[in-house]
């Protein structure tokens, strides 16, 4: 029997603790990788641009085509970093809150909920301001999260990973159909529906980044502040309550932060799956299961992953681009399968 009280299925084979110096070392490595990826993301694209032009463009010059291209890449890179960090962190918190190694805003259908809410708002309620789109996306994400969790946790054994993943997959499928059904009668928005079914950071501008930044900041703060409580939750609900944790409250607040992050990320980039699944697992291997380290690390690594995926999408299909949502699914789904394979049947 999978019981609610079973200790955190310390996902995969993560080591419980890592000594401080190891963590610091990894921190430096991840930051260095992120800086390299930022440079790559600005430098690499469909059009090859020389370093002198890149530097000039970063200084604000748009004298030639190359410099103009680089100027376009800057907001896109920034958006990839923000969205990646939000999704990575959101996934880590979700895995902590549900104690479920398969939790991810994409796998659980939460991003699709945000998407459907936005598409419905665009088609039926004439939504146009950026802020109202973000609020709508967050609302949709929250409803989808509650729904999937309710469906997955009904009955015996609570929310086992299998039931949650199934409920998420079913909900995603339903929401995808609904998105098409809502958008198809509206020729004017049907063209943009693709971007609400497959996420991407291609069309980024500084405006949308500025609009979404406050939401991401609040989500980030809430999530990071709940790190200590998530550590207690990992011991099981009863033990956490014994340690003085108000379990339901903590769980609600942390889940709220995580939904805020993935909803806002979806509002600016569309539904991007599997980042929140892959990143926390990698980070547990690097820094262990302490959420005070795991959460910031997940944000950093998520930013790295999404930036790398975006660069990859620009390189492999030149001169065309592949949306980053496609790349993350192609990388993430095999990872998902690997996690499923490593779990004991009992824990599913």
């Amino acid at each position: 029997m999978t019981s609610v009280l079973s200790p955190a299925p310390a996902p995969v084979t993560a080591p419980v603790r890592r000594p401080g110096p190891v963590r610091l070392l990894w921190l430096l490595v991840v930051v260095a990788v992120l800086v390299l990826l930022l440079a790559a993301s600005v430098a690499i694209g469909s059009r090859g641009v020389g370093w002198s032009d890149i530097v000039a463009a970063l200084g604000g010059s748009t004298d030639n085509l190359g410099q103009a291209a680089v100027t376009k890449r800057v907001p896109r890179t920034l958006l990839a970093v923000l969205v990646g960090a939000a999704l990575g962190l959101s996934g880590a918190v979700m895995q902590g809150v549900t104690r479920n190694p398969l939790a991810d805003p994409g796998v659980l259908g939460i991003n699709m909920g945000a998407s459907l809410a936005v598409v419905t708002g665009l088609a039926w309620f004439g939504l146009f301001s950026a802020t109202s789109i973000i609020w709508t996306a967050i609302g949709g994400a929250a409803v989808a999260a509650l729904f999937v969790y309710a469906v997955g946790s009904l009955g015996r054994g609570g929310a086992t990973p299998l039931k949650l993943a199934l409920a998420g997959a079913a909900t995603s499928a339903a929401l995808t159909s609904f998105i098409t059904a809502v958008a198809l009668p509206r020729g004017d928005i049907a063209g943009s529906v693709q971007s609400w079914q497959i996420g991407g950071v291609g069309g980024a501008g500084f405006d949308s980044i500025r609009q979404v930044l406050p939401f991401l900041a609040v989500g980030l703060a809430v999530s990071l502040l709940s790190a200590r409580s998530l550590n207690s939750l990992a011991l099981g609900d009863e033990l956490a309550a014994g340690l003085g944790e108000r379990v339901a409250l903590v769980r609600g607040v942390a889940a709220g932060g995580s939904v805020l992050l993935c909803g806002a990320a979806t509002a600016v980039a569309g539904p991007i799956g599997f980042v929140g699944l892959v990143v926390p697992h990698l980070c547990r291997l690097l820094v262990g299961v302490d959420h005070r380290w795991l959460l910031p690390f997940s944000a950093l690594t998520g930013a790295c992953l999404l930036t790398a995926a975006d660069v990859l999408g620009r390189v492999v299909a030149r001169p065309a681009e592949i949306d980053v949502g496609i790349i993350t699914a192609l990388i993430g789904a095999p990872f998902f399968i690997a996690i499923v394979r490593r779990q004991k049947v009992r824990e599913l």
Binding site: G155, A173, Q194, D323, I326
Partner: protein, 350 residues
């Protein structure tokens, strides 16, 4: 109870009577379903921008020349309606075969990614490689088989493969889905109708050259599957029991899988993976038939009925013409959720 007091042989009679009653019930259900399929098929041929009375439709189907109707019904509606029936039968048959073989209603080929694999291969063949005709179907069937075998191999690890099988299938479906999205983004222009065909299934713009291969394969492989009915039912009791009953388990499983993927892939190459038909047909058929006999034929008929009705709804029930896959997707996903909720409550095998 009381029967036992009246006469000794009545217990045997009871069994015999029960058997007859179940056979009668099964035949009645199959007949009703078949009649419904035929009626809906004729209705599909009748309605449209212009209405043709049943007499005209029947004469066109029989090959007579009816002014006006011969073109509209014979060239436009007939291939579409026929493919609806063929695809519905194929999906229903393939779905219930997998569900029976793997003893799990969730293990239908559209949930675990086999349909998505066939669809991805067809999209690759058409959009990237510029192929057409049977080559597309061959691509689809090979991909479907590869995905099925791959899921099986990945899930097979010291037994207990049931739940893992489905989760791995879901992961596989997600990956293949993004392959389709990638292929479509490489197409010269983003054609939303074409995209919908490969993502959720659509019968728009169907012509005979797409319908005929699926029809031929169904006519060849459908009976093969139906002959495996008894063996599949025995396998449902467990592999050991089945071999004790004289079923060659591995042979049956291989044959059923190849035949099921075959009909599924050819239908998918023609109209895309019409969402959730394979998943829904079996459970609905089980509800209608009850424990009265084989599910294969009833499930196939339910599948055909589903596709026909969904296509009618998609075309005429709303202001916009929705592709059939969107309608079945909106219908099917809530049922999937219901199934999860219900099996949770009874502590089922999930």
């Amino acid at each position: 109870m009381t029967a036992g007091l009246v006469a000794a042989p009545s217990a045997v009679d009871d069994v015999a009577r029960g058997r007859v009653r179940r056979a009668v019930r099964w035949r009645a259900v199959v007949t009703v379903l078949a009649v419904l399929v035929v009626l809906t098929y004729v209705l599909t041929l009748m309605v449209g921008r212009t209405f043709y009375p049943p007499g005209d439709v029947v004469r066109v189907v029989l090959g007579q020349d009816v002014p006006g109707a011969s073109f509209t019904v014979g060239r436009l509606r007939l291939p579409r309606a026929t493919l609806a029936v063929v695809a519905g039968l194929s999906f229903g048959l393939a779905g219930v075969t997998f569900q029976t073989m793997l003893r799990n209603p969730l293990a239908s080929p559209d949930v675990i990614g086999i349909s998505t694999g066939a669809s991805a291969a067809a999209a690759v063949a058409i959009v990237l490689l510029g192929l057409g005709g049977t080559a597309v179907s061959v691509f689809a069937i090979v991909a479907g088989l590869v995905v099925a075998v791959l899921i099986y191999l990945l899930a097979y690890k010291d037994g207990g493969a049931g739940t893992r099988f489905i989760l791995i299938g879901i992961g596989m479906a997600a990956m293949l889905h993004s392959v389709i999205a990638y292929v479509l983004s490489r197409a010269s222009q983003w054609d939303y109708q074409e995209a919908l065909r490969w993502l959720s299934g659509s019968l728009n713009g169907v012509t005979w050259d797409r319908t005929v291969p699926a029809l031929v394969v169904l006519v060849v492989l459908g009976p093969v599957l139906l002959t495996q009915t008894r063996a599949l039912e025995a396998i449902q009791l467990g592999d050991d029991t089945a071999s004790a009953l004289g079923v060659r388990v591995e042979r049956t499983r291989l044959l059923a899988m190849v035949a099921a993927v075959g009909v599924l892939a050819f239908a998918t190459a023609a109209c895309g993976p019409i969402a959730f038909v394979a998943f829904l047909a079996g459970p609905i058929a089980a509800r209608v038939v009850g424990p009265n006999g084989s599910l294969l034929l009833p499930a196939a008929l339910v599948g055909a009925l589903l596709v026909l009705v969904a296509d009618l709804c998609g075309q005429f029930a709303f202001g916009t013409r929705f592709p059939v896959g969107v309608v079945t997707g909106v219908l099917g996903a809530p049922y999937l959720i219901y199934l999860i909720v219900r099996s949770n409550r009874v502590g089922g095998s999930l």
